[in-house]
């Protein structure tokens, strides 16, 4: 069958499945709409959390980033999984016991203050909106590449699908669709990885294949990769660092704390029946996430080796990588390269005019590699490969059958749609529950609140779609901001609300604002005020990464420290929280007496 037809069938079937679930899981009450009635099994919830969590970025971009960053890419792997340990132990069970629908509601009640809750809503909206823009553009790209429609049409179709199951199904619809989406995306990720691991290392488990022997040689796969990339002037794969050890440390810490503080992840733990289930559900979520996250480093490393082996025959055969006949002739390049050239994500420019593809690092500081390249008459790197194609082109690079390629298409869409839906849920509940019911109209009836929830979700979809169609040109910086905000404002506030009985509203609010402004100040210095180009103020802070060489993506951890420090200082000089709040903290700490989540204030 034609590749295009196969893709249409796979994607069409997966969409039909999601819509079918939506019809089955319509939400009738606010409890079903916000928290799926608090009746989701911990394993089911774990699977839904995993789909919610693994976005288009995890699915499409992460392996490519790891391929480029080598060892340093481990910061994504550890950062985006280690946060679940914090979430499981420090937040999830206590928030579940507290038994309300949203994160701002916890902050508002615990710190007995509408202002605290409003600050939390603000942080939540900024973090979720910046995150969702990336998802919508991801949907657009995936549609454009695989369905041959324009990226804009792709976003409209994506909006319509999410609208159908998120608005009518609420959290219940979203949860069960996410389970289906998890299954689609994990098959799409692991099936090609298994084939490639078999080809390169003769082992069906990519996790073991990466530590195995490179087929046809007597070297281990990683040692071979290290040798090839250093010889070509790239950093040594298994040791290259992102900046410094300190930066890697802070970056990993920021992602961990940020993960634990992201509202769309936290609110998943309101849907399980008990405190006990909230604890184990985080573990199940991490198992389902780990299946992809332990496969990703293998996909990254193997794709990198495969790519080098494709354009340079000496990789496989041994011998001199710089020998003239080792680089393949452009006319002999495989079909998949021709296909991706059309998208502009892969580009060959014959700089030295010999008709062969020389792929190496022409900006290397490695004198030996530089000397060899000059001696061989190489005039610069001739192949530009966009890191994002690593996963999408992987099945084609390995010459796998059409149905695998179609599956990857459906998987990429599932990853983007599931995360978008989870974020929309977080946004809608913050607006309808925390702002409309909590601040403006506390006497709203359940029926009207449900309607308000659905309307704010619909508005959020349109806003997200608009931003996806007209991306504000800061896609790369936004994820850093979402994590920075979650790490520096929400996580410390929730944690202190549980672990410090004496923390008062003044301390919590001062801490949140201090952490937030510190983080924004540092990020905006690098990326421009609200990401508007030309408004960077690096001079003011003494140049790029001036804070001990920490990059703006890694500053969230420092922001969290600022938050904790300010909160404790302010707390010391203001009066302690009222008796009933301290009693409430006591009650939140013990599991007994947990009830189904409700919206009652």
């Amino acid at each position: 069958m034609e590749l295009q037809t196969t893709i249409y069938i796979f994607v069409g079937l997966s969409f039909a499945l999601y819509l079918g679930i939506a019809v089955w899981a319509r939400a009738g009450s606010t409890s079903e709409f916000y928290a799926a009635g608090g009746s989701v099994h911990p394993i089911t919830n774990g699977m839904a959390t995993a789909a919610d969590w693994m976005s288009a970025a995890s699915f499409i971009s992460m392996a490519g980033l790891i391929a480029n960053m080598g060892y340093g890419g481990g910061l994504f792997l550890m950062g985006w999984t280690g946060g679940y340990v914090l979430l499981a132990m420090l937040l999830a069970p206590y928030l579940r016991k507290f038994g309300k629908f949203t994160v701002p509601q916890f902050i508002g009640d615990r710190f007995y203050s509408k202002s605290a809750s409003t600050i939390a809503v603000m942080c939540l909206l900024v973090a979720s909106l910046t995150y969702i823009i990336g998802q919508m553009t991801g949907v657009g790209i995936a549609f454009a590449r695989f369905l041959g429609v324009s990226s804009d049409t792709g976003i409209y179709v994506g909006m319509a699908i999410v609208f159908a199951y998120a608005v009518f199904g609420g959290m219940k619809g979203i949860t069960y669709t996410q389970v289906a989406q998890y299954i689609v995306l994990i098959l799409a990720y692991t099936v090609p990885a298994v084939f490639i691991s078999l080809q390169l290392a003769g082992n069906p488990f990519p996790q073991l294949g990466l530590g195995g022997t490179y087929t046809g040689t007597d070297m281990s796969l990683l040692a071979k990769l290290d040798q090839v990339v250093t010889d070509l002037g790239f950093g040594k794969y298994t040791t290259q660092l992102p900046g410094s050890t300190l930066n890697m440390f802070m970056y990993t810490m920021s992602l961990m704390i940020g993960t634990a503080g992201l509202p769309h992840v936290i609110m998943r733990f309101f849907t399980v029946p008990s405190v006990k289930d909230a604890r184990s559900s985080a573990g199940w979520a991490l198992i389902f996430i780990a299946i992809l996250y332990t496969t990703a480093p293998a996909v990254g490393a193997m794709a990198k080796l495969n790519l080098h082996a494709t354009v340079n025959t000496a990789v496989k055969a041994g011998g001199d990588l710089y020998a003239p006949e080792a680089s393949i002739k452009n006319e002999d390049r495989p079909d998949w390269m021709k296909r991706w050239e059309k998208t502009g994500l892969l580009k060959f420019t014959d700089k030295n005019g010999d008709g062969r593809i020389q792929y190496y690092n022409d900006k290397t500081k490695n004198e030996v590699a530089k000397g060899k390249a000059e001696a061989a008459g190489w005039k610069g790197n001739e192949l530009d490969v966009n890191a994002d194609i690593i996963v999408l082109a992987n099945p084609e690079i390995a010459l796998l059958p059409n149905w695998v390629i179609a599956l990857v298409a459906a998987g990429g869409l599932a990853a983007a749609l599931s995360t978008a839906a989870g974020l929309l849920m977080a946004i809608s509940s913050a607006v309808s529950h925390d702002l409309i019911k909590g601040v403006f109209n506390p006497n709203i009836s359940e029926k009207n609140e449900l309607l308000a929830g659905k309307v704010s979700m619909a508005v959020a979809i349109v806003v997200a779609g608009y931003l996806g169609l007209n991306p504000p040109g800061f896609a790369a910086g936004t994820v850093a901001l979402a994590f920075g905000i979650a790490a520096s404002s929400l996580f410390p506030a929730i944690m202190m609300g549980i672990f410090s009985k004496k923390m008062n509203k003044e301390g919590a609010m001062a801490g949140m604002l201090a952490g937030l402004f510190f983080t924004l100040f540092y990020v905006f210095a690098h990326k421009g005020v609200f990401f508007i180009k030309g408004t960077e103020y690096l001079g003011l802070i003494g140049g790029a990464n001036s804070f001990f060489g920490i990059t703006p993506e890694a500053i969230g951890a420092v922001g969290a420290l600022v938050n904790f420090a300010v909160a404790f200082l302010v707390d010391k000089v203001t009066k302690e929280p009222p008796e009933h709040i301290q009693a409430m903290v006591e009650a939140v700490r013990i599991p007994r007496g947990s009830k189904t989540v409700t919206g009652a204030h």
């Binding site: 550890m78 999984t81 499981a88 040791t239 440390f249 405190v275």
Partner: protein, 86 residues
């Protein structure tokens, strides 16, 4: 001696468990995966340098084990202090 069943003792037991787990959490990721990665890379685990393995694989497996260990131990503590759910 009578066993202390107060909420204070329960909370201390909880914090004790959290501290233990956080030490392991820190040791495998930030310790083995980042701070001591160069030393550990001298040891090989199959084709993996050990420090690299912790950063790309090992930490994740240990994180999973930690959460389930926590869930089980917390259940024990809940029952010991008689604060478990019905």
């Amino acid at each position: 001696m009578k066993e202390d069943k107060s909420s204070h003792a329960y909370w201390n037991a909880t914090l004790g468990l959290l501290t233990k787990i956080l030490i392991v959490w820190f040791a495998v990721s930030f310790g083995a995966g980042i701070l001591f990665v160069d030393v550990l890379n001298n040891i090989k685990l199959g084709g993996y340098p050990l420090g690299f393995w912790f950063a790309h694989q090992g930490s994740i497996y240990i994180f999973i084990a930690l959460i389930f260990y926590y869930a089980k131990k917390m259940g024990d503590i809940d029952r010991q202090f008689d604060v478990h759910e019905d």
